[in-house]
C-alpha cells in the first residue's frame, strides 16, 4: 500500500507539506525534499506558452520508492471559474497554485504492476481533495498530516501498457551525470516502466522544459520537451554547470565590491582632514567631505 505526499499551498498559507508519509523519518524527509525542491524551483515552467504542463517523477533510494506529479492544481482537479466559492486552485490574491503530489511505498512492498499515468492522476486528484480542501481556509496551521499507507493501485485493472515491457530502456545510474532523452509518449512510458522495475536507487523525471534546468539536478534520467534535442545522450552535470553562460565579464570573483578603478584623469582636489564619525545626513552632502 502507498502513502500520500502533498506539497502545495492553501488559500492563506504558503507552500508547505500538507501531508507526508507516516513512516518517513527525518532522513527520508530530507531525501524527499531534495527532489521536491528541485521540481518546484521554477514553477512558471508548469504553464508555459498558455498551456499547463505535467512533470512526472519517480525516485528510489535503498528503502523507498516515491512517485510524484508536479503540476498546476487546476490541471489536477479541473479549471474553476474566478471568484467561484469553491475555488481550490487559486490563493487569496487569486494567483493560481501549483503542487507536488505523490505517494511512497517501501521497496519490498512494491507490486510488479506498473500503474498507468491516468490512474495515478485520478488517485492524486482524490488525494488532493481529501486532504487539502479540509485545511483550505486555515490561517495558522503549522503541522503536516502524517498519512498511513492506504492507496492501492492494484484494485485497478488498467496498468501501463507499452512496448517497453518487451523492450527495456537503459537507465543511467550515475548520480554525477544525467541521461537526457526527447520527450515522446513511447520514451516516457519506456523509461517510466524501466525505472519502476529497477531494483536499485534510481531517479527519473518526465517532461522538463530544457537542458539548462538540469543544472544541479538530483535526477539521473530525464525526458525533455525540446524539439531541438538530439537523440538520447548522457551529460556530466559538473561540466554542464561550468558551461553556463556568464555575462558582463568585467567582474572577477576576487574583485572588490565597490570598484576603485575610477577615471584618474580627473583634476586633483585639495586634501583635507575629514571627521571620522558623522551621520547619514552629513555624509550625503559631498560638500562636507571637502570643506571641513
Amino acid at each position: 500500500m502507498w502513502s500520500g505526499i502533498i506539497y502545495t499551498r492553501t488559500k492563506n498559507l504558503d507552500y508547505r507539506y500538507i501531508a507526508i508519509p507516516k513512516n518517513f523519518d527525518s532522513y527520508q524527509l530530507l531525501w524527499l525534499e531534495t527532489y521536491v525542491k528541485f521540481l518546484l524551483k521554477k514553477p512558471d515552467n508548469l504553464r508555459e506558452n498558455g498551456s499547463d504542463r505535467r512533470i512526472w517523477s519517480i525516485f528510489k533510494d535503498e528503502n523507498y520508492c516515491v512517485i510524484g506529479l508536479t503540476c498546476m492544481v487546476r490541471d489536477l482537479i479541473g479549471f474553476i471559474e474566478l471568484n467561484h466559492p469553491n475555488d481550490y486552485t487559486r490563493d487569496y490574491t487569486q494567483t493560481p497554485i501549483y503542487t507536488f503530489i505523490g505517494c511512497s511505498i517501501k521497496l519490498k512492498e512494491m507490486s510488479s504492476d506498473v500503474p498507468d499515468f491516468n490512474i495515478l492522476k485520478d488517485k492524486f486528484k482524490n488525494l488532493y481533495e481529501e486532504h487539502v480542501i479540509p485545511v483550505w481556509e486555515e490561517l495558522f496551521s503549522t503541522t503536516s498530516v502524517s498519512l498511513s499507507p492506504n492507496i492501492n493501485f492494484l484494485e485497478e485493472e488498467k496498468k501501463l501498457s507499452c512496448n517497453a515491457q518487451n523492450n527495456k530502456y537503459d537507465l543511467n545510474t550515475d548520480s554525477n551525470s544525467v541521461l537526457i532523452a526527447p520527450m515522446t509518449d513511447e520514451n516516457n512510458k519506456g523509461y517510466w516502466y524501466s525505472a519502476y522495475e529497477f531494483s536499485e536507487p534510481i531517479s527519473l523525471c518526465l517532461g522538463f522544459s530544457s537542458e539548462k534546468d538540469l543544472i544541479n539536478s538530483p535526477f539521473m534520467n530525464c525526458t525533455i520537451n525540446d524539439i531541438n534535442l538530439e537523440p538520447t545522450k548522457t551529460i556530466d552535470k559538473n561540466s554542464y554547470a561550468s558551461k553556463s553562460i556568464v555575462i558582463n565579464s568585467q567582474n572577477s570573483s576576487n574583485s572588490s565590491s565597490i570598484n576603485e578603478n575610477f577615471d584618474k584623469n580627473k583634476p586633483d582636489g585639495d586634501i583635507v582632514n575629514f571627521p571620522s564619525k558623522k551621520g547619514f545626513n552629513y555624509w550625503i552632502n559631498p560638500l562636507n567631505w571637502r570643506k571641513h
Partner: protein, 332 residues
C-alpha cells in the same frame, strides 16, 4: 553558478507570503536595466536575465491571471552588477525567499535556517509591506497580516547579534508595495509604521528609508487588465547600494587621514633622520598615495551626488529615530 565574495553587497527582502517581493524584484530589474541617470544593473547570469525578462514581458503584455508570477516556494539568490554607464561600481546579491519561511516555518526547517543565515549576512534589509493592508488604522490584525511581529523578532535578533551603533546605523528600507491599493494619506501610514508596525526601527542604531512602490496605479482597478507602469521600484535598492558607498567613502577618508599623519610624522623628524631614512622618497610616496585616494574620493563624491538625486526624492528617512530633512535638487 555564481558566488559572492566578502565585499559583495547583500540585500535581503523580508515580507510575508504574497507581499509582492518577487514582482518588486522584477520591476526593479526592469527599470534598472534601462537605467536611471546613467546608473544601471546587469544580471551576472544570462539565464537569470532571460528568466526576468520573460516573466516581466508576460506581466506587461498578458491580460489574464497567468500574467503574474507564481509564488516562490524556495529561496533563490540572484547576482547583479551595479554600473555607471559601462563602468562597474559594485556587485550585489539579492535574496528572494519563500515568504512564509518567516511565519509558518519551524526553526529547524531548511528554508528557515537559510533565512536566518541570509539575514545575518545582509548588508541591507528591505522590509516589504503590502499597501492593501494599510487602508485602515493599523492594529493587531494589521500586524498579523503584514507579519510585522515576526519581522520585528528577526530585527531584534539581528540587532543583538551585531550590536548596532548610533554612529554607524544599519540601513533598512521599508517598502510599501502594491501602493495602488492603499487609499490613506502617507502621513497616517507613516505614523502607523512608526508606532504600530515597526517601532523598534525608529530608535538608535537604524537608518530607515520608507518608500512607496507600485507596479502600476491602474492595477487597483483590475489586477488582470490593469496597465503595468512601475513607480519607485528602483529606490530601495539604490538606497541599499548608496549606504554601502558611504561606508566605502568613510574608509577612504580615514585612509587619507592616516597617510597625512604619516606625512606629518616625517615632517617633524630632524634632518639627519630624514637623510638616513630617505624621507623625501617616503614622503613623496605618501603624497602620491593620498592624492590617488583623494581622486577616488572626488569621483565617488560626484557619483554619489548624482545617485542620491535619483532615489532620495519622495522617500522619507530616519536616522537613529530622527527624521532627516534632505534638500535634494535634481540636476536638469
Amino acid at each position: 553558478m555564481h558566488t559572492s565574495n566578502d565585499n559583495t553587497v547583500r540585500i535581503t527582502m523580508l515580507g510575508g507570503s504574497r507581499s509582492g517581493k518577487t514582482c518588486f524584484m522584477m520591476a526593479m530589474y526592469s527599470s534598472m536595466q534601462t537605467g536611471i541617470d546613467g546608473f544601471n544593473f546587469t544580471s551576472k547570469d544570462a539565464d537569470a536575465d532571460i528568466e526576468f525578462n520573460t516573466a516581466w514581458k508576460k506581466l506587461v503584455i498578458r491580460n489574464d491571471e497567468d500574467r503574474w508570477p507564481l509564488g516562490t516556494s524556495e529561496t533563490s539568490k540572484y547576482f547583479f552588477n551595479f554600473n555607471y554607464g559601462d563602468k562597474l561600481l559594485s556587485e550585489f546579491e539579492w535574496n528572494d525567499y519563500r515568504g512564509d519561511a518567516l511565519t509558518i516555518g519551524k526553526a529547524t526547517d531548511e528554508s528557515v535556517k537559510d533565512l536566518f543565515q541570509i539575514i545575518d549576512r545582509s548588508s541591507c534589509l528591505l522590509i516589504c509591506v503590502s499597501g492593501e493592508h494599510l487602508n485602515v488604522k493599523a492594529d493587531e490584525e494589521t500586524r498579523v497580516l503584514t507579519d510585522s511581529t515576526r519581522i520585528n523578532f528577526l530585527l531584534n535578533q539581528f540587532a543583538i547579534n551585531h550590536g548596532l551603533k548610533q554612529e554607524d546605523p544599519f540601513p533598512v528600507a521599508i517598502v510599501l508595495t502594491k501602493y495602488d491599493l492603499c487609499t490613506r494619506n502617507k502621513e497616517e501610514v507613516l505614523k502607523d509604521i512608526k508606532q504600530v508596525l515597526f517601532p523598534n526601527l525608529f530608535r538608535e542604531g537604524w537608518l530607515v528609508m520608507v518608500c512607496s512602490t507600485t507596479l502600476g496605479m491602474d492595477l487597483a482597478r483590475s489586477k488582470v487588465l490593469g496597465r503595468i507602469s512601475p513607480l519607485g521600484s528602483h529606490q530601495p535598492v539604490i538606497f541599499a547600494l548608496f549606504t554601502q558607498f558611504i561606508k566605502k567613502q568613510k574608509t577612504y577618508v580615514s585612509e587619507i587621514s592616516l597617510l597625512e599623519k604619516k606625512q606629518d610624522e616625517i615632517k617633524s623628524k630632524n634632518w639627519l633622520w630624514k637623510v638616513w631614512n630617505r624621507a623625501d622618497t617616503k614622503k613623496l610616496d605618501l603624497v602620491f598615495k593620498s592624492r590617488d585616494m583623494s581622486i577616488n574620493l572626488d569621483i565617488m563624491s560626484e557619483r554619489l551626488e548624482k545617485l542620491k538625486a535619483s532615489f532620495l526624492q519622495e522617500s522619507t528617512f530616519f536616522e537613529n529615530g530622527n527624521e532627516l530633512n534632505l534638500d535634494i535638487k535634481k540636476e536638469p
